[in-house]
């Protein structure tokens, strides 16, 4: 029954579509096109207003002075000059780079190593997978505020643990030397679950013959990781690297909730500075100028990401 319908459909398609009468075909195509745009209109409106228009507007805002009273006026590169002259500007970029670097060191290597270990375990797999992903499900504000309490220099959990080990307590968020690191620790804790599970899925697709062959050739554990595991998961490693750079360069919630950029601008990030300009100093132009700079930097990574994922699919 189904097969006959399918056959009928295919045969009809092959006769009427490419070789059918032209007028009927074009009228049909027109109707089809109209109904297609009927399906698309909701998305077109939403994208036009809340995606495409803001993108264009971002590019304009950076070169304008905007307020809600008068009209926007063109000010050329003034916003960029002003933002770049801010003493926090250089600090914000350095902090963001340092945060990204540290977050990669912990949050990129750690999930991969964890996934390799988890993949070897034959017991408690469901528990371990569940537990590592649990913090990812928490709203970031909850996780960050929880850690704010842990970082409390007095009765906070971390200093209590240090005391337990007879080590001196740290000032965590209040010291310029540990504040940024503290942000990296929360960020890693609440995000590493997704990386771990993605790597775990990738590791399960590595063919066992390759390990078998490598072992027959006398490759030890580390050499098997280097010559089989890593090359076989190369693509996903690259994709995750790019995604993680893009995500961590936009860090905002951690400095906003934990330190407010302090102490002494030690944790001001680019997005946090952008937030300050746009929503505290009422300078939408300054905020947009910072946003444009960040966009240019991140576009390199997102273009690479799109390229890699597209090539990977073929």
């Amino acid at each position: 029954m189904t097969t006959t319908i399918l056959k009928k459909a295919t045969s009809r398609r092959s006769t009427s579509h490419p070789a059918g009468p032209r007028r009927a075909g074009s009228r049909h195509a027109l109707r089809r096109g109209l109904s297609a745009y009927g399906f698309l209109c909701g998305a077109l409106i939403c994208f036009a207003v809340f995606s495409w228009y803001p993108i264009v507007r971002e590019a304009l805002l950076g070169f304008q002075r905007t307020n809600f009273v008068g009209r926007s006026e063109w000010v050329g590169l003034d916003n960029f000059h002003r933002v770049a002259g801010d003493p926090a500007f250089g600090k914000a970029w350095l902090n963001t780079l340092e945060f990204t670097g540290l977050a990669l060191l912990c949050g990129y290597v750690l999930p991969f190593v964890t996934a390799i270990v988890l993949n070897e375990l034959r017991h408690a797999r469901a528990y371990l997978r569940f537990v590592v992903y649990l913090p990812v499900m928490l709203p970031p504000a909850v996780a960050v505020l929880l850690f704010k309490w842990f970082y409390d220099p007095g009765p906070g959990l971390f200093n209590q643990l240090l005391h337990l080990a007879h080590l001196p307590g740290l000032n965590w968020l209040d010291s310029t030397s540990t504040a940024l690191l503290s942000l990296v620790i929360v960020s890693t804790w609440m995000n590493m679950g997704s990386g771990t599970l993605i790597y775990l899925a990738a590791l399960q697709s590595v063919r066992s013959e390759l390990y078998e062959a490598a072992e027959l050739d006398g490759a030890g554990l580390l050499r098997r990781i280097r010559h089989v595991t890593i090359p076989q998961t190369r693509l996903i490693l690259l994709v995750m690297l790019l995604l993680q750079v893009i995500a961590t360069m936009q860090v905002f919630v951690e400095p906003y909730l934990l330190t407010g950029g302090g102490p002494q601008d030690a944790t001001v990030s680019v997005v946090y500075l952008m937030y300050l300009y746009a929503f505290r100093f009422n300078s939408y132009g300054g905020g947009s100028a910072l946003g444009l700079m960040l966009m240019v930097v991140l576009m390199v990574f997102s273009a690479a990401y799109l390229r890699v994922t597209r090539d990977g699919g073929r």
Binding site: S35, A43, L121, L134, L138, P139, Y211, I225, M299, G313
Partner: protein, 290 residues
């Protein structure tokens, strides 16, 4: 039988077995300490009195547990209202996103109109722009929507409408629809079904797995979002639970704040317990295989 990095043969030697069990126990202990203990500390910390919270060394179990603190936090921080707000934003964003993205992806995949490829390209191009970069222009747009000149601040639409323009969902849905054989749909068309009918009765039932993935992304995305609701819902009655707790965190006693964090975390953990399999499947579906 598939093998991994280490073969079963190596694991079955006496030495392999010792190493395996040592590693297993260490990993379980470490994971529990790192990922579960903080949550235990939070849930029990809420039940300690302010005096006990400030004590050094801390107590592993609350001396005199005060479970009533949870009730205090619920009432004093109006958590019921804020949780309900968040639920409303998440549910609306989910429905609207499906209502907008599913027909769009269907049109781009199966009806293939003139300029369809260009439209898809423009949608996917938005994925290149980091989301935080658009905070300022999007905020200004929501504050004064072009043409209509309405202010959406402090309304649910400020969350719902931008969430509907989700290129990643369109991409995931379209890729799935592409894999549905065209013959199936054309057969229905010959039987006189309209395009809407085909989408509703044939495409949607087949597409349940991908719709589950997109739904989870939509709901979790709104639930976890912090910056956007912080900007567009500043009204003390309209806030999401995350924004409300963080804005009240300074003037709230420590144990009440911790209790509020526990309550705010429970829905997420509950959702995870129920939809664990879908969430983990979605993670890998969204990750790669483009």
């Amino acid at each position: 039988m598939t093998r991994t990095l280490i073969s079963d043969r190596a694991l079955n030697t006496p030495r392999g077995r010792v190493i395996y069990w040592t590693v297993l126990v260490t990993v379980i202990a470490l994971f529990t300490a790192i990922f579960v203990f903080p949550l235990y500390w939070m849930a029990t910390g809420a039940m300690k009195s302010s005096g006990e919270l400030a004590r050094t060394p801390p107590t592993l179990f609350p001396r005199h547990p005060h479970p009533g603190v949870y009730g205090d936090a619920w009432r004093r921080l109006y958590l019921g209202r804020f949780l309900l707000n968040t639920l409303e934003y998440a549910a609306g964003a989910w429905l609207l996103q499906l209502a907008v993205c599913v027909p769009a992806a269907y049109a781009l995949s199966k009806l293939r109109p003139l300029l369809g490829r260009a439209v898809l390209g423009m949608m996917l191009a938005t994925l290149m722009i980091p989301s935080t970069v658009l905070l300022v222009p999007l905020y200004l747009t929501v504050r004064d929507v072009p043409i209509l000149h309405v202010n959406l601040l402090n309304t649910p639409f400020a969350i719902w409408l931008p969430a509907a323009a989700n290129a990643f969902s369109v991409f995931l849905l379209k890729r799935f629809f592409d894999s549905i054989p065209g013959e199936l749909l054309e057969a229905a068309a010959i039987d006189g079904a309209s395009s809407w009918r085909i989408l509703w009765s044939i495409v949607l039932p087949i597409s349940r797995p991908i719709i589950a993935v997109v739904s989870i992304f939509a709901v979790v995305g709104v639930w976890k979002d912090f910056v956007w609701p912080l900007l567009v819902l500043p009204d003390g009655n309209k806030m999401t639970v995350s924004v409300a707790i963080s804005s009240l965190s300074e003037q709230t006693p420590q144990n009440i704040l911790i209790a509020a964090l526990v309550i705010a975390g429970i829905p997420a953990v509950a959702v995870f317990l129920v939809f664990q399999r879908h969430i983990m499947a979605g993670l890998t579906a969204g990750g790669l295989k483009g």
